[in-house]
């Protein structure tokens, strides 16, 4: 009887602690709705043109800026924050993010329909 009560004294606070931790973890993860595609993992951070978080929300602006400066001003080389240099080309992006569904996963989930592949060859169409 005494032993059982001791167990209860330990078990109840322990359960409470677990519940609190679990709740905190869940509230932290609440942004990621079930069904969302897993966030893409960068292959090698030394090859990144910018931080993942920045790219996730601003890749379209980067592409727009790259197009403008390379097509109109002839400035075809982009120097990243760590000094590595890249050709401003859609193929620079696709060469590194070689997972064929890299673009489509998120765009399908977010119901975004960019018109890139009306002209550019999509990763799904390349060998």
């Amino acid at each position: 009887m005494r032993i059982k009560r001791n167990i209860l004294f330990i078990a109840i606070p322990a359960l409470l602690v677990f519940a609190v931790i679990g709740f905190l973890l869940q509230s932290g993860n609440a942004v990621e709705t079930p069904g969302a595609p897993p966030p893409p993992v960068a292959v090698d951070s030394t090859k990144c043109i910018a931080q993942t978080e920045y790219m996730r929300s601003n890749h379209m602006k980067v592409l727009n800026e790259w197009r403008h400066s390379s097509v109109r001003e002839g400035n075809r080389v982009y120097t990243a924050h760590n000094g590595s240099r890249f050709q401003k080309s859609l193929n620079t992006c696709l060469g590194c993010h070689s997972n064929k569904l890299f673009c489509f996963n998120c765009h399908m989930y977010a119901n975004v329909k960019p018109k890139c592949w009306n002209c550019h060859l999509s990763p799904m169409e390349t060998p």
Partner: protein, 268 residues
Amino acid sequence: MSSVAHGDTVMNKERRDFIRKAGLGVLAGICATSGFLPAFSLEETILPAWDEKPVPGKIRWGMVIDTRKCLGECNECVARCHHVHNVPDFGNRKDEVKWIWKSGYGNVFPTSTSQFRSSEVLQRSYLALCNHCAEAPCTRACPTEATFKRWDGIVSMDYHRCIGCRFCMAACPYGSRSFNWRDPREGIKEASVDYPTREQGVVEKCNFCSDRLTKGMLPACVESCPEKALVFGDLNDPNSDVRALLESNSTMQRKPELGTKPSVFYII
């Protein structure tokens, strides 16, 4: 004891050298991979030779076509250009899209003032393409600046901005522009992965192979010509091949009286 110590120093030196070299190797590896990309099935991404913005007006790309060498039924340049740039072929004149084509003397030089040309000259067919005019009327007509004069004299198209109004087609005195009435992908038999296609509702034309120039290659038509009748180069450089040909031959431009200052010259 001393020999062991000596051996130790030798070992240390060798080891130090090895570590130093290995470190250098790793550094070199990082340098090589940081800027360049792994093998990839799409177009090669080689960094261009220049680092920053080019100086506007320094280069003016131009072409000299030696029509004395361009004879017969050869269509190599047309085929190569249209393949490289995914130009569709629907097999009818109404939907025709063309970047470079062959036409008769009267069509290419309708306002030529030289009378009584020899019948041989009149019967030849002449290559026509965008003239990349120094004073391009199409760039003035475009309401969205989708077509514009580049820093190197090329009249370029930004297909992203084209709204398909076709003012440029009306403005171009050479008929160098084509409209995509249909989805061009339907008309491409063998797609080239090095260059995008266009989409329905945009105007397209020769880009003087600006895509190949960034890779240090000559235009596709120049490269493919078996007779070497096409010569490409910088008109602003007095030592270039095109300037040498202009120096030693009498040449013609298409409709020079319009003041568009074409960058394509013909040796008749």
